[in-house]
Symmetry: C2
Subunit: 146 residues, 2 copies
Amino acid sequence: MTQFYVAVGAVIERDDKFLLLKRSPEKDFKPGVWEIVTGRLEREEQPVQGVLREVEEEVGLTVKVVMPIHTTFFYRGSKEFPMVFITYWCRHLDGDVSLSWEHSEFKWVTMDDALEIYKDSPFFPEFANLKKLKQHLPTGFQLDWP
Amino acid sequence: MTQFYVAVGAVIERDDKFLLLKRSPEKDFKPGVWEIVTGRLEREEQPVQGVLREVEEEVGLTVKVVMPIHTTFFYRGSKEFPMVFITYWCRHLDGDVSLSWEHSEFKWVTMDDALEIYKDSPFFPEFANLKKLKQHLPTGFQLDWP
């Protein structure tokens, strides 16, 4: 049976704005592109724990995971990297953004700006899904994680 | 980097009831246990397409995928099977249940009955999450899948 690399992504919300990051020019894959926090799951790691770890490593923030909002399969660059990608909506709890080598810039944008910036991007469905959910879910809503 | 098997699960809703399946006595892993539709993702398969395929194969139903509601990592039996499991809420569209060899019984139960049946099961969080979501999301709500 096929095995996959599994990556997780975090759409981080703070005061109704969302964190976008620009990939460093040094990145081998899609340098210079605006993205969200992403990273690969490690062995024996719960996906939600992987999200918290990647967010801490890449931007130095403490967040809560609200819920998964999108899943997709793609090849990362070549057929040797079949990847399943799970994106989570996260809520900022503490800290200010501190970038790692992986990103060169960041900005907090409104939902409408995110949808415009990502209109031709693989990240569009994440934000479209989140917009739909936020129309119904109360402020502070979140699922429970064991 | 670690690779994983990826499995998807479907919590199928029909008229405010949810489909439970009893694993066949012939199953190598957890025979006789009540579960939801589950199955492994195939190569190049979008997770949502994998859900639709497994639901069709295991119970012969046509469903719509509403959204992902839970994710978890576990070993399926042995350390040789690191597994990431993504569960989706699905809405029944068409068809009556027709079991494959994988299951010996089925029943449609209320949310409260599902929570009681699964109270010591790994499927409990799926139903607990879904109960929370359904308190806020309108009838017929669903996310979009490309």
